[in-house]
Amino acid sequence: MSSTFSGISTALNALMAQRAALTLTGQNIANANTVGYTRQRAELSAVSTSGRVGMMSGTTTDQNGGGVTISSIRRLADAFVDARQRDAHSRLAYADAQVGSLGQVESILAEPSENGLGHQLTEFWNSWQGVSNNPGSVPARQALLSKATTIVGTLQSGRAAVDAAYTDTRAQLDALTAQVNITAQGVAQLNDQIRQVGAGGNSPNELIDQRDQLVLQLSSMVGARSTPVSDGTVNVSVNGVGIVSGTRWSTLSVAGANTIDSQATNSLALTWSNGSNAALSGGTLAGVVDSLRSIYPDVAAGYDQVAGALASSVNALHSTAQDLDGNATGAFFTGTTAKSLAVALTDGRQVGAAKLVAGPTPTPTLDSSIADQIAQLATSSAGADTRWSSFVAATGVISAAAQNQVSVHSAISQQADANRASASGVSIDEEMSNMLMFQRAYEGAARVMTSVDEMLDTVINRMGQVGR
C-alpha cells in the first residue's frame, strides 16, 4: 500500500521536471541565433513504483506510478546531415580559394582591353611597318623602340605581379596552417572536457556544439572528416590520416620556397607532426596549395613562353639585317623569360630594317624588307600573339570552370546548411508551444499538490470529531 504522502512527492517531481523542461526551452530560445547551437530536448519518462513483494502488493490502489523524471537531455543533431555539411563546406572552400587566385591572375592579364599585352603587341608590329614605310626616319625607329620597351614593361610587370601573388599566397598558407593547428588543438581540448563532463554525469551538449563548430572549421580549411567515439569525443582525419585522436592532436607544418622562381627546386611540402605526408583534397588550404603548385607557376610559365617566343622570332630575323648605317645587326631583344627580357638596342639607328648587304665595308640602304618580315610575325602561328591569346583563353577557361564549381558548391553548401538548420535549429514556434505545454503541466502539478494538501487537511484536522 502506498504512503499517504506519496501524492505530494509525485506532484513535486512533476513540478521539478516541468520546471527543468521549461528552463531548457528558455535555453533553446536564448540560443535561437547562436551559430552551431543544436536544439536540446528534455526526455521525460514516467517513474514506475518499485515492485514489492507482499500480501497487499497486488491491490489496485498500489498500482500508481511514482511521477515523472528527466531521463536525459537529448541533443537533436543528425550525424549524417552534419557530415554532409562538413563535406560541402570543404569543397566550397577549395573552389573559393582557386577562384580567388584565378581572379587575381585574370586582373593581372588585363585582357581584353586597350591596355593588354595583345594590343601592345599589335602596336609593336605596326611600328615595324612604320619603320618599313620610312626606314630612313629616326623618329619612326625611336617610336618602335619605345613600343618594344612598353611590351617589355608589360611582360615584366605582369610576371612580377604573379610573383607577388605567389609570395602573398605563400604567406597566407603559413597563416592558415597556424589556424589549422590551433583549431585541431581546440578540438582535442574540447574532447577532453566533453569526456570529463560526460563521466561526471552532466550534459556536455554545449561543449559538443563548440567542438563540432571547430571540426566544421577544420573541414573548411583542410577537408577534415570526423568519426564519433562512444565516450562523446570525435576522431578527426584528413585524407585518411588521423589528426585528432581523443585528446591528442597532430600539427601541420609547411616547408618550401617563398618565391615562385625557387619553387621548382625547393618545392612545397606539407607534413603532419605524426610524420605523415599531408595530402589535401578539400578545403581552403588545398585550394591555396594547388594555386601555389600549379596556377601561379603555369601563369608564370605562360608569361615566359610569350616573352621567349617574342625574343626568338624577332631576333632570328633581326640578326639577318643591317642598321641605318649599314652595320650588321644582332639580337633585338636580350633574355628569354618575361623577367630577363630587355630591348638590346639603345638608339633607333641600330634597328635592323634592311637586308644585310655583303661586303667588306658597310653599305647603308633604305631597304626595309626585314622590317616588313618582322611585322608579319604578328600572324605567325608560333608567334607571341598566338601564344598570348591561347594562354589568356586557357586561363579564362580554368577560371570559368572554377567559378562554376563555386556556384555549384555554394548551392550544395547552402542546402547542407539549410538541412542542418532544419534538423538542429531552434524553431521559436515550437519552443513557444513547448513553453505552453510545460507551463500548463507545471500549473497542473501545483494543483495536484494543493488538492493532496486539502485531502491531508481533511484527514488530519477534520477526522474523528464526530458529535463535537
Binding site: E111, E123, N126, T365, S389, V397, S399
Partner: protein, 296 residues
C-alpha cells in the same frame, strides 16, 4: 523522410542567400551596363576573349595597312606627276630636235638657241629625275643616297630594288620607279642623249634624226612606266577603300562580341530589380510573425 522542419533561422538563412544571389546578378548587370562590355575578363567568355583579341589585332593592323596605302599613294602620286612632267619636257626636246633637223629653216643662230634650250631642258630633267619624297629620291630604289643621279657624270647611284608598301597581310606593292630603266645611266642616259642632240644641233644636224629614234625609245619607256604607275595607283586606291570597309566591318563584329545589347541589358536589370524587391518584401513578410505574436 517526412517534410522538412522549417525554423526561423533557416528561413532567414535561405532568404538571405536568395537576396545575395539576386543582388549578385544585379551587380553583374550593373557592371555590364556601366562598362558597356559583356566581356570584362577572360572567364566571362573564353572563346569570346580569343575572338576579341584577334579582332582587336586585325582592326589595328588594318588601320596600319590603310596608313601604308596612304603613304604609298603619296609616293606613287609624286612619281606619276614627275613622269608627266618628264614626258612633256621630252616632247619639247623632240619638237626642238625636229626644228634643228630641218636645216633649211634653221640658221646657225637659231640652231644655237635650240641647243641652249635643250641643254636647259636637260637640267630640268635632271632635277625631275632627282625628285625626292620625304627626303628619299623616288627613282633611287632603296638607296641611302640623297639623289638618284649624279648631276655631272649622270651616274645612277640608286638601285632597282622595290620600295614596298604592305597593303594587307599577303600583298605588298612597289611604290617607287626604277630610275635606271626610265632615265638610263651614265653615257647611255637620257641626259647624255640630250647633250649629244644639243651638240649635234650646232655642228652636225644630220645626225639628229638618229638621236630622235633614240629619244622616241626613251619616251616610250617613260610612258610605259607611267602606265604601270597608274595601274599601281589604282590598286593602292582600292586597297585603301578596302582597308576602311574591312576595318568598319571588323569593328562592328568586335562590338557584337564585346559590347552589351543596351536595350536588353536595361530590360534585364529592370527585371532583376523587380525580382529583388519582390524577394525583399517576401522576406520581410515571412520573417516577421511567429507564434509569439499571437500568445498572450
Amino acid at each position: 523522410m517526412t517534410g522538412m522542419r522549417v525554423t526561423q533561422a533557416s528561413i532567414a538563412a535561405s532568404s538571405l542567400a536568395n537576396l545575395q544571389s539576386s543582388l549578385a546578378r544585379s551587380a553583374r548587370l550593373q557592371e555590364q551596363l556601366s562598362s558597356g562590355k559583356v566581356i570584362s575578363k577572360p572567364s566571362d567568355s573564353p572563346t569570346g576573349t580569343v575572338t576579341s583579341l584577334s579582332l582587336r589585332a586585325q582592326i589595328t593592323s588594318t588601320e596600319q595597312h590603310a596608313r601604308n596605302a596612304a603613304d604609298g599613294q603619296a609616293w606613287l602620286g609624286t612619281v606619276d606627276s614627275t613622269l608627266q612632267q618628264v614626258n612633256s619636257r621630252l616632247q619639247r626636246v623632240r619638237d626642238l630636235s625636229l626644228q634643228a633637223v630641218s636645216t633649211g629653216s634653221s640658221s646657225s643662230e637659231s640652231r644655237q638657241a635650240i641647243a641652249t634650250e635643250i641643254t636647259s631642258l636637260r637640267g630640268e630633267l635632271m632635277g625631275l629625275a632627282n625628285t625626292s619624297y620625304d627626303g628619299r629620291p623616288v627613282f633611287g630604289g632603296t638607296t641611302a643616297a640623297t639623289s638618284a643621279f649624279d648631276v655631272t657624270t649622270y651616274a645612277f647611284s640608286g638601285n632597282s630594288d622595290p620600295v614596298n608598301r604592305r597593303l594587307d597581310t599577303r600583298t605588298t606593292i612597289n611604290v617607287g620607279a626604277d630610275g635606271a630603266a626610265v632615265f638610263g645611266a651614265g653615257a647611255a642616259s637620257m641626259f647624255a642623249l640630250l647633250d649629244q642632240i644639243a651638240s649635234n644641233a650646232v655642228s652636225n644636224p644630220q645626225a639628229i634624226s638618229g638621236d630622235i629614234t633614240a629619244l622616241d625609245g626613251r619616251m616610250s619607256n617613260v610612258l610605259k612606266t607611267l602606265t604601270d604607275v597608274g595601274v599601281r595607283q589604282n590598286r593602292v586606291e582600292a586597297a585603301m577603300v578596302n582597308a576602311d570597309n574591312h576595318g568598319l566591318s571588323l569593328k562592328s563584329t568586335l562590338s557584337s562580341v564585346e559590347d552589351i545589347d543596351l536595350p536588353r541589358t536595361i530590360m534585364d536589370i529592370q527585371l532583376q530589380s523587380n525580382t529583388y524587391q519582390a524577394a525583399l518584401s517576401a522576406a520581410a513578410k515571412v520573417i516577421q510573425p511567429s507564434l509569439m505574436d499571437f500568445l498572450r
